[in-house]
Amino acid sequence: MDIAVKRNMTGRMTGFVRELNAVLTIVARGITLTFKSPASLIMSLVMPVVMMYMIGGNLQQNMAGGLGFDFGQYMLVGMLVNMLFTMTSQGLSSLVEDRETDFTQEMLIAPVSRYSIVIGTILGSAFLAIFSCVGTLIVSLFMGIRMDAGQLLAVLGLSPLMCLAAGAFGMLLLGAVKNRKAANMAIMIIPMAQMFLSGAIIPITNSSGVLLVLSRLMPMTYCLDLVRAVVYAGTPEYGAVVLFNPAVTLAAIIGLTAVFLAVGTFLVARSEKNR
């Protein structure tokens, strides 16, 4: 890729090229950090064994009768999206952790848009999520769950949007919760609750009452539904698996992601400046 780099009088990049380079730099830092921390790499590979094999496998063997669709495949898609969501939002808390070494200061002082910093951090922490997805796919192979190449590509194609959606939601939490410790805790616990509420492993077709309301409040519910709509397109199970109209879901995800990102970034930047 060769871009004619626009530079200003001081020989530095300007405008969009500079922002793009900044995002790339921050993403690259995220990837570098991933490789430098073997512990988190190992965890990202062990997680799928616990989630997919132990929780999912047990549900499949003991409780998945009479659903009207193949539970294994249903759960695999759910787990993949769940991994993208959990890992990305956990990685985002690095923005908070960096504060301890004042590295966030160093990033915030750079002459680039706050959005570039946030998007770079989100995509950088999404890198670890890819490992978890690969791990999940490997475990699912051992469990005899199959997905064809087209379906896999569909999940892959949607994954950047899933990561951004997760990151935007995480940013909103970081911005809304004033206390840093509490914000960090929220960012750990909410994805966990989301996993159960949004239908990642347990179908929510028959949810009612509080659980129904909560499920509709979780952004991951819509992300999951969109991915399933694409994966199950044209299959007889579609009606039993997919809850909403995919076009509406897609629009809603894009809209909410943009709003969450804008509000979250604004709030975080403001609380950073107004001490």
Binding site: T14, N21, T25, T32, D102, E106, P111, K273
Partner: protein
């Protein structure tokens, strides 16, 4: 000469604080000037610098850097300043060189490449030259955790100058450095001043470092106590409180001035 930095009636009161940390401060710094901002612990130096470099919002007042307003044109301002924070701000998980590369790319000086070798020649030469100059060439590829405190400080100084800022803020840059390193560091900063005309805004508790500055402002309890050249500051104290045989050093003048104003205020 053109003022590169103008501060007018700057006030900062931290959330839930009972008094102003910075209390109606006004001064200006000319382009290319070497400026010292001195004051005792808790005087409001770091607070002022944080506002000037856009990381902290002022309560009231106006600040302009190279004609840009720090609130409304924060990005333009950030483009023109370099800073060494009082608190170390390196990424401890990256290597020394990666920290520099990250900074240079974030500022749009170079396009990002995943390894040092793949970076443009100009970058590689510049980094190694600077590392040589401050004497940390051997440590450039070590993780930050394995660098001593002084070495980390030197690295931050290289980092702050790699994008050739118009104005460089140094918040106690030499704390923890040995005498030789301090000397080397000042040579490097002076070199950058000569070559690029960088304006330097210094706070320090080693008053001798400010001996050769063009202008010194003393801040105490958030208020400016004096703003003049070091020579003028010394001369105001020549016969006061007691006649002296020769002019005092800046450090003596500074301490006397502070104690005098402190007594006057009480």
């Amino acid at each position: 000469m053109n003022a590169i930095l103008e501060v007018r009636e700057l006030v900062k009161r931290y959330n839930k604080a009972r008094s102003n940390a910075v209390d109606g401060v006004s001064f200006s710094v000319s382009e290319g000037e070497f400026f010292a901002f001195l004051g005792p612990n808790g005087a409001g130096k770091t607070t002022t610098i944080s506002i000037l470099t856009t990381t902290l919002a002022p309560t009231s007042g106006e600040v302009k850097i190279a004609g840009c307003d720090v609130i409304r044109q924060a990005k333009e301002v950030r483009d023109k300043v370099g800073i060494i924070f009082q608190q170390p701000s390196l990424d401890p998980q990256l290597s020394a060189e990666e920290n520099i590369r990250f900074h240079a790319c974030l500022y749009g000086v170079y396009g990002y490449r995943p390894t040092f070798r793949m970076m443009p020649k100009a970058y590689r030469e510049r980094v190694m030259e600077l590392a040589e100059l401050v004497g940390i060439a051997d440590a450039m590829f070590k993780p930050i955790k394995k660098l001593s405190g002084g070495m980390q400080r030197k690295l931050e100084i290289i980092r702050s100058l790699i994008h050739t800022p118009k104005i460089l803020f140094l918040d106690e840059p030499t704390t923890g450095l040995d005498a030789v390193s301090r000397r080397g560091l000042w040579e490097y900063i002076n070199q950058s001043r000569r070559e690029n005309g960088t304006t330097v805004f210094l706070t320090t508790h080693y008053i001798d470092e400010a001996e050769s500055v063009d202008k010194v402002c003393i801040i105490n309890h958030g208020k400016l106590a004096a703003c003049c050249s070091p020579g003028e500051l010394k001369r105001t104290l020549e016969y006061d409180p007691a006649p002296k045989v020769c002019l005092p050093t800046l450090e003596q003048a500074y301490i006397e001035y502070l104690s005098k104003t402190e007594r006057g205020a009480a």
